[in-house]
Amino acid sequence: MKNGDWRAESVLFRATGALLAGLVLLLVGWVIFSAMANAGGAWRDVLENRLLGHLWQTLLLASGVFCGALVIGLPAAWLVAMHDFVGRGIMRWLMVLPLAMPSFVAAGAYLEILNGMIPFYVWVRSSFGIEAFLWVQKIMPWVFSIVILSATLFPYIYLSCLAIFERQAADAFEVSRLLGVSGWNGFFRVGLPLARPAIAAGGGLVLMETFNDYGVVSAFGLTTLTPGIFRAWAEGEWIVAMRLALLLMVIASVILAVEKFQSGRKRFVSSDTERPLARVPLRHRNASGVWLLAMVPVALGFLLPCMQMLEWLWLTLHLLDWQGHFSAAWHSLSLALGAALLVVLSAAILVVGARVLRSGMLKHAQAISIAGYSLPSAMVAVGVGAIVTSISQSSQLFAGLALSASVTGLMLAYWVRFMAVAVQPLSAGLTKVPETLGEAARMLGERPWGIFFKIEIPLMWPAFFVAAALAFVDVFKELTLTLVLRPFDFETLATRAYRLTDEGRLAEAAFPGLSMVVLSLLGLIPLLRWMGRIRA
């Protein structure tokens, strides 16, 4: 059903799509190509001594975090969507709070707790012997890592399951109640099957974030693939780094393929009924139990780290290096704003362009943007880093632009990595705008740009805010890409917090850490308001 009428106008749209797709393909191609070069002894060393460890640690961490996030997020979404109890409305958005806490910032707070566990170790040793003590000491970092990542990432599963339960489960659940199936039974027989695509979607995000995590695992000394890639990169063993990155990408692709398979097979007729869902009230005793349980992950993922950092901030207030902090904050803000703008604009071009121009090419570009999101951060980092370095080394002209090349590289990396974050809400918003409106405008003499600006965009405003907010928060909290690609002596709040934590100056890391939490919270407000607009 292509039209072919607007070839001239579509140039900008298709150029954007082609640029993005080209970048992603170049990136993947570069990495694959570099990985095929001769790596010599370094690779053999990794292969024999470290690879297996990287692999099973990555998989173990990923499974642990997935289970943890699932066990927290899914029941929470069910309870909030389907049941009525005191303070339900508040809990609904309270559960989203941990999204504002970057995992590695929480890790810093928990490191302190880990360090303070010596009396516990002593007790274990004296009660259960040295074997038990060694074992406990070994698994503690794992326990902490899994708990922290689960507690900060579960909102992804919570939100996607909540969306499905609130919109589509209403009818199914009401029918099942009339047929005598409710409560736990209802959850397992109705809720769980309905939630499968949501679990797949949210779970996919959780797994991607876990693969990409660097701050938490390095704080607790785990050696998953991402720190392995970093290490190789830092040691100058680029080919080793590329190969490890490729391996991570393969694992991530397998996970995403499974997720797609899970969601793709089910098509739900979404209920258009606007009548409010009749929620099952909980008895007070059960309600207090629910609150107690729900507060555990929120405390672990948000409240406790915040409190620890506030205490540190109070203690170190007089020591603060204000200039360093503000410079880092300024860098964080400008990068996040610039990247959010870039990402949202290009996502708008792709999404709306695909609709107005009915271009299949643009739809493919959308798919490629999602592929960009699925590339592990470490891989995007080393890929873009290699490309930018090669370009700046290849000519004198570019070498002089080292700094700007680096920031450009960083922005390009953000673009590739975070396009999908804007594309999803924008496509969702666009589905609410009937196609006939654009056609009606066309019959009244309007051309593509006119339709774009006068019809589609004004009707999609809320989606723009959500997309911009999500992109802003994600870039703001971003650590991995920034660590690798930033120019020399250029810090963001994220890298600063990481560095201070790494250097053992935990208390001083509180200020950048807390600033990130506060700014993330502000960035989340449009998301929370959008949640509120969906009838609760």
Binding site: P434, E439, A441, R442
Partner: protein, 344 residues
């Protein structure tokens, strides 16, 4: 002059086994209203969209007046065809007021002219005073009228309407239908509207084109299409029709009167009479006329629909439907004679 000429328009969507449109040709005289009718999937909406320029035909020609809108060599883009279109559920822009909607297509005119046209249009469709309202504040009928005003504001030579009344309830439909006809005639534009509702077509249109599976079955005035259908499909489409394996139908007074509407031409294989239920009446049973047993009765307010089981000359069982207007009460199980009802 804005005569619409459609020649050999064909369209096949990739991925579909059957073509959506097979070499459709028809004309709409300037200022007349044509109804495109057919079942879902007959291709009527596709043809309308091709006329609008929202879809491109594979082959054929479209001329409006003396301008070529579509041919193998060129195709004028939809936004330049100067055609007004009213969509199924009005498709008013929800974020704009009624006046902003109506003015949307005429922004390039002088401000004074715009305001003048706005007043005219709103008065023409009966929405005076509603300028500042938003679409969600209007009723379904008001929305359709606003959509009409918006399309007519540009003084189009051709108006296209896609199932304009299908989203309205039946009482509203009638009044809006008549108003729309009046508005269209006043504007002088040539109009094509798509509907699956035959009563809309019969009431408003001056010409009706019947489509089936992408093929044109018949084009003609409403009376023609109703009383002289080209084939059984058209006959059944516009109303109930009995297909009786009989040569003729006798009247009690002995005469054999013409009351059938088909089949067209002479077909000597099997005799078949096409008779509409309203062209039959119930009479006391007699020997030379067709008689039957009443099996079902449906009260329809103005009349009763009565079904009778009869026997043909060959001994086959025929089910005949008769529209019974007289106040005589009919009961199931009774024997009645079926006679042609004169058309005078």
């Amino acid at each position: 002059m804005s005569t619409l000429v459609i020649r050999n328009i064909s369209k096949q969507f990739s991925g579909n086994a059957n073509p959506a449109l097979r070499s459709i040709s028809l004309d709409v005289p300037s200022g007349k209203i044509l109804a495109l009718v057919g079942a879902s999937g007959s291709g009527k909406s596709t043809l309308l969209r091709i006329l609008a320029g929202l879809e491109k035909a594979d082959d054929g020609e479209i001329l409006l007046g003396d301008e070529v809108l579509f041919s193998k060599q060129r195709s004028v883009p939809a936004e330049r065809r100067g055609i007004g279109m009213v969509f199924q559920n009005a498709s008013l822009f929800p974020h704009l007021t009624v006046s902003q909607n109506v003015l949307f297509g005429i922004r390039q005119m002088a401000r004074v002219k715009q305001m003048q046209l706005l007043e005219e249009m709103l008065e023409c469709v009966g929405l005076q005073g509603m300028q500042k309202r938003y679409p969600h504040e209007l009723s379904g009928g008001e929305r359709q009228r606003a959509a009409l005003a918006r399309a007519l504001a540009r003084s189009p030579k051709l108006m296209l309407l896609d199932e304009p009344f299908s989203s309205l309830d039946s009482r509203l439909r009638q009044s809006l239908r008549d108003e729309t006809r009046q508005i269209l005639k006043n504007s002088g534009a040539t109009a094509v509207f798509v509907t699956h509702d035959t009563s809309d077509a019969l009431a408003i249109a001056e010409r009706i084109a019947v489509l089936r599976d992408g093929e044109l079955q018949q084009v003609g005035a409403p009376q023609e299409v109703y009383h002289a259908p080209a084939n059984a499909h058209v006959a059944a489409f516009f109303g109930r029709c009995n297909f009786m394996p009989l040569r003729s139908l006798a009247h009690p007074n002995g005469a054999r009167m013409a009351c059938h509407i088909g089949p067209p031409g002479t077909s000597d294989s099997k005799p078949e009479l096409w008779v509409r239920p309203e062209d039959l009446e119930l009479v006391p049973p007699q020997s030379e006329i067709l008689t039957g047993l009443v099996t079902q009765i449906l009260f329809a307010g103005t009349h009763q629909d009565v079904w009778l089981e009869c026997l043909s000359e060959e001994g086959d069982s025929i089910s005949v439907e008769v529209r019974h207007h007289s106040p005589i009460v009919i009961a199931t199980g009774e024997r009645w004679g079926i006679a042609p009802r004169p058309r005078r």
